[in-house]
């Protein structure tokens, strides 16, 4: 982006304008619902916290619905951090370790497994699964539904009777909800229980105002254009920082090995593709897994430091700021074991599903199609690649076997078209090609 266009586009102002419009519709609008689409790292959590505080300040009794206990705990902590006076109820299940023990330290937070204990509080937060068991309660005036695109339609059906009006916030590019059993018989119905909550909501209420957060504060200038083009072609967004605002460098020069060269490339350009020779492998491809572990090990050994817009002084890149993303749980387990063999501790290793909503400085991704003989709908799913490619603040290294482009060409999408189902753009095939074409410019062949 040139300096001139940066002056015309002020990310802070654009984001503030969008937020103001969202809050206006939420607090003073005439419709029962407001939908907000948020690309990766666009300040969704900040928006939820702000909307919650303003709704509480306006005297509206508020319930907040999130999808996982970790998301709920995170929201409670953020709320308490922003406003230690605001009284918040955390509704949890009666299992022993249902919530983060850190919540017990917060004086403004009431913890309970019984909705009656929390009925008088201005804000009550819980998971959709727990809310579904709340019966015969006085309806809440307002609700905020977080990660609404990852919530299933049937989960919304179970809780929608609890509130009058709602703000739905989510990222349409992440993984769609899924079902372990077939749900084709309802495909095309507006209330298909296996579809996302937002698609059902909008099918029945097309007049609801829809907003979009236009700026990603997480993704660096090197990543936002690609992620936007590949996964959000019709609702483009920009990065909040410009080129050069974020820098990744190493204290020790590279030794010319594959992992070091790909780390150098990633520091330089924000992206790196470490390409292993083409080969069909089992899911837990030992060579690729080891390559992933080596990249992480070298990043730590070489004393990586980051510079960003929030702190001018360079910060050492520690293990807790690095994540490894995979498609399958057994791959994640294999990477964890490989990292343990190399003596690396404290790095997050998880599947795309579990990395949703998380943020790191450096990510290392085992490509979902690496070493596969076929490209199934699971591996082609747009959201999976989008989550894996949009968790980083500085750089993303992808490890893959050669031959993915040919694999894609051999397996065009063949999912049956269902009447009444909105075709999702872009499809995973197109998005995969788009990302691959970009990664090819940052390709480093494997050399131990």
């Amino acid at each position: 982006m040139s300096t001139a266009s940066r002056q015309r586009f002020d990310p802070g102002a654009a984001a503030a304008e969008a937020t103001a419009a969202i809050l206006r519709d939420t607090l003073h609008g005439s419709e029962r619902g407001v939908v907000v689409d948020s690309p990766p790292g666009a300040g969704k959590s900040t928006l939820v916290v702000r909307a919650a505080r303003e709704l509480a300040a306006a005297g509206r009794r508020l319930m907040v619905v999130a999808q996982t206990n970790a998301q709920v705990d995170d929201l409670v902590l953020r709320l308490a951090d922003k406003d230690p006076e605001l009284r918040v109820g955390r509704l949890h299940s009666s299992d022993g370790d249902a919530y983060d023990p850190a919540l017990r330290e917060l004086p403004s937070v009431t913890l309970s497994a019984k909705p009656k204990d929390l009925a008088e509080l201005p804000i009550t937060i819980s998971t959709a699964a727990k809310w579904a068991y709340v019966k015969d309660a006085e309806p809440w005036e307002h609700a905020i539904v977080d990660e609404a695109y990852q919530m299933r339609s049937d989960a919304l059906l179970a809780v929608a009777g609890l509130f009058d009006r709602a703000l739905f916030v989510g990222d349409p590019g992440q993984l769609d909800p899924f079902s372990v059993v077939g749900a084709e018989q309802w495909a095309g119905l507006s209330y298909d229980p296996s579809a996302s909550a937002v698609s059902t909501l909008l099918a029945h209420n097309p007049q609801l105002p829809q907003h979009r957060l236009p700026v990603s504060w997480r993704l660096p200038a090197s990543a936002a254009p690609l992620v936007s083009r590949a996964f959000y072609p019709y609702t483009q967004f920009r990065s909040g920082t410009g080129p050069g605002d974020r820098r990744l460098s190493y204290g020790v020069a590279g030794d010319g090995s594959g992992p070091d060269r790909v780390l150098d490339e990633a520091a330089e350009s924000g992206w790196g593709l470490l390409e292993l020779p083409a080969r069909h492998t089992p899911r837990t491809d030992p060579e690729a897994v080891r390559a992933v572990a080596l990249v992480v090990r070298r990043a730590l050994d070489r004393g990586a430091v980051t510079v960003d817009e929030q702190s001018e002084a360079p910060t050492a890149l520690t293990a807790d700021r690095i994540a490894v993303g995979t498609a399958h749980r057994d791959q994640a387990a294999a990477v964890r074991a490989a990292l343990a063999d190399l003596g690396v501790d404290g790095v997050t290793v998880d599947t795309a599903n579990r990395l949703q909503g998380r943020e790191y400085d450096l990510t290392v991704v085992l490509h979902p199609l690496s070493g596969r003989p076929d490209a199934t709908a699971f591996h082609l799913e747009t959201g999976r690649l989008c989550v894996l490619a949009s968790r980083h603040r500085h750089a993303c290294v992808v490890v893959a076997r050669a031959g993915i482009a040919e694999l894609l060409d051999d397996h065009p999408s063949t999912e049956p078209v269902q009447l009444g189902v909105t075709v999702k753009f872009p499809d995973g095939w197109e998005a995969n090609h788009c990302v691959l074409a970009h990664l090819a410019e940052h390709r480093i062949p494997w050399k131990p």
């Binding site: 699964a129 339609s153 059993v181 095309g188 119905l189 209330y191 749980r329 057994d330």
Partner: protein
């Protein structure tokens, strides 16, 4: 497909015959199943061509529509089918036991024990293939909304009296067959495919003849050769040696044999010789019967093969759910309720999906607990582990009345995906799950230390047999042994605004395939 199933398929290729995927039978088989082999007419949706149906392998009832485009003949066929199927289905309705079940009062939410009727057994319909199940569902849909002369005297084309009822039962069986583990409507190919792995693809396994060739190949021939012949072999006239198990017929049969026979039947009908009509009809009947007989025999052969496996312990518990389902539909029919609606409303759809997901979890767990071979697959994928108990260290809770919390060390070669931080694991103790908490790995993950949590009685000392002893072989799973149902959904009349409000309200969205201007040219 799990790694173990892939291995079984590779072994099947090498051995030239199918390999077992199970050591027990994972589906209930009725003492007296009703086998139905339907055929449909090419190019005309839902126009049956014929069927073999019955409970006696030696004496099937043959039903044929000599001219499927003649709707009177079609309805006569369906009336005959109803006469054959309904007495069988209704035959289970009156043998009941009284059982107690817990019901929740919709007003107060209070739970109370209610005595209810449960049918002692339920009907079981077996069709040759997956497509056969779809066909039963299609026939159900085409029949259940028809009105009989008694219901609607004005109707110029009333349906024969029992046909709508058959439609309702077929619809019920079709819906029930979508529930994982349900056994009221099963296909022979899926039953065999669950218990044996062949050396061909899943798609090829849809051919019942080819599938059986892999499981019981003829003397001196490999399964692959026999399967290929069953799938593609043709005689001198170009007809398949093993006709497809339906409901679709082979095009060569349609063109060369069936179409000319039907033309002769049509020609005879336009004449005035009743004997010529009877002769032409008999010719069509014989042709269609010849197409169905191999599938009829193959289905019974499949059932015999499956009966050689001992029944899985928990398959009977799942069959009880089928009996409940049968009893429930019997009650709805008796209460004079209308047929199942064309489409599920939002609440019903969500309820069905929730039930099926619960049943899938339950089925996966129960199959593994019933069958060491299935459990081996779960162990291989890190979801379970088995091994020998090497040490027991007694421990107690730190409360006023201490409860036992012994530490159990298990030596295993499995690599369970246990994470530091303590997940729960379960083992089956006399059929009931006992929980333990994962404490730590020792000796490079070869030893696993667990803390037992429950099923040890109320006293300070655990009850005899509730704690494993040194040297015992134990198998622990990371998954739970039973599935919990989900929360109660709102009543359909209280469907929220996000889902279009109650059914029939104006807020409900239009159906996706309504008639538009473009449909009417």
């Amino acid at each position: 497909m799990s790694l173990l199933n892939t291995l079984a398929r590779l072994e099947a290729v090498r051995a030239g015959r199918a390999r077992p995927l199970a050591t027990v039978r994972h589906r209930h088989l009725s003492e007296r199943p009703l086998v139905l082999v339907p055929l449909t007419t090419a190019g005309e949706a839902g126009a049956p061509l014929g069927a073999l149906v019955g409970t006696d392998p030696a004496r099937p009832r043959l039903l044929v529509v000599p001219q499927p485009r003649d709707r009177d003949l079609r309805w006569a066929f369906l009336a005959d089918l109803a006469d054959e199927v309904l007495p069988y289905v209704e035959g289970y309705a009156d043998d009941v036991e009284r059982v107690e079940r817990t019901e929740t009062d919709p007003e107060t939410g209070a739970k109370s024990k209610v005595e209810a009727e449960l049918c002692l057994d339920a009907p079981q319909l077996i069709v040759p293939s997956r497509a056969g199940i779809e066909y039963v569902r299609l026939l159900g849909r085409s029949m259940r909304f028809r009105r009989t002369a008694e219901e609607d005297p004005e109707n110029p084309y009333p349906a024969p009296s029992r046909v709508p009822l058959l439609g309702r039962w077929f619809t019920h069986l079709g819906e029930r067959s979508r529930v994982p583990g349900a056994s009221m409507l099963l296909s022979a190919t899926e039953l065999l495919g669950r218990h044996w792995a062949t050396g061909q693809s899943n798609l090829e396994d849809q051919h019942l003849g080819a599938l059986l060739s892999w499981i019981v190949p003829p003397e001196g021939e490999s399964g692959a050769e026999a399967a290929l012949r069953a799938e593609l072999g043709r005689d001198r006239d170009g007809q398949l040696l093993v006709p497809p198990a339906g409901p679709a017929t082979d095009p060569a049969f349609d063109n060369k044999l069936l179409a000319p026979a039907m033309s002769r039947y049509d020609a005879a009908r336009s004449g005035d010789d009743p004997r010529a009509v009877a002769r032409a009809e008999a010719a069509v009947r014989e042709l269609v019967a010849e197409q169905m007989r191999p599938a009829w025999r193959a289905v019974w052969q499949s059932l015999e093969l499956l009966r050689t496996l001992p029944p899985g312990e928990r398959a009977e518990e799942r069959w009880t759910r089928d009996r409940w389902s049968y009893t429930g539909h019997r009650d709805r029919v008796r209460a004079g309720e209308p047929p199942q609606p064309r489409r599920d409303d939002a609440v019903t759809a969500a309820q069905k999906l929730a039930t099926r997901e619960t049943e899938q979890v339950r089925l996966d767990a129960q199959e593994a607990l019933d069958d060491p071979l299935v459990m081996a697959g779960r162990r291989l994928s890190g979801e379970a582990f088995a091994g020998e108990v090497t040490e027991i260290v007694m421990g107690w809770t730190e409360s006023k009345r201490p409860s036992p919390r012994p530490l159990v060390t298990v030596a295993t070669e499995d690599r369970p995906q246990l994470a530091e931080g303590g997940g729960k694991v379960f083992r089956s103790l006399e059929g009931r799950p006992q929980a333990a908490q994962f404490v730590r790995f020792e000796e490079d993950r070869r030893l696993i230390v667990l803390r037992l949590l429950d099923k040890m009685g109320r006293g300070r000392e655990p009850e005899p047999g509730s704690v494993p002893e040194k040297g015992d072989r134990v198998c622990w799973t990371l998954f739970e042994h039973d599935a919990r149902g989900g929360p109660k959904l709102p009543d359909p009349e209280k469907t929220p605004w996000t889902h279009g409000g109650p059914p029939g309200s104006r807020a409900a969205a239009p159906l996706p395939d309504t008639v538009t201007d473009e449909d009417i040219l």
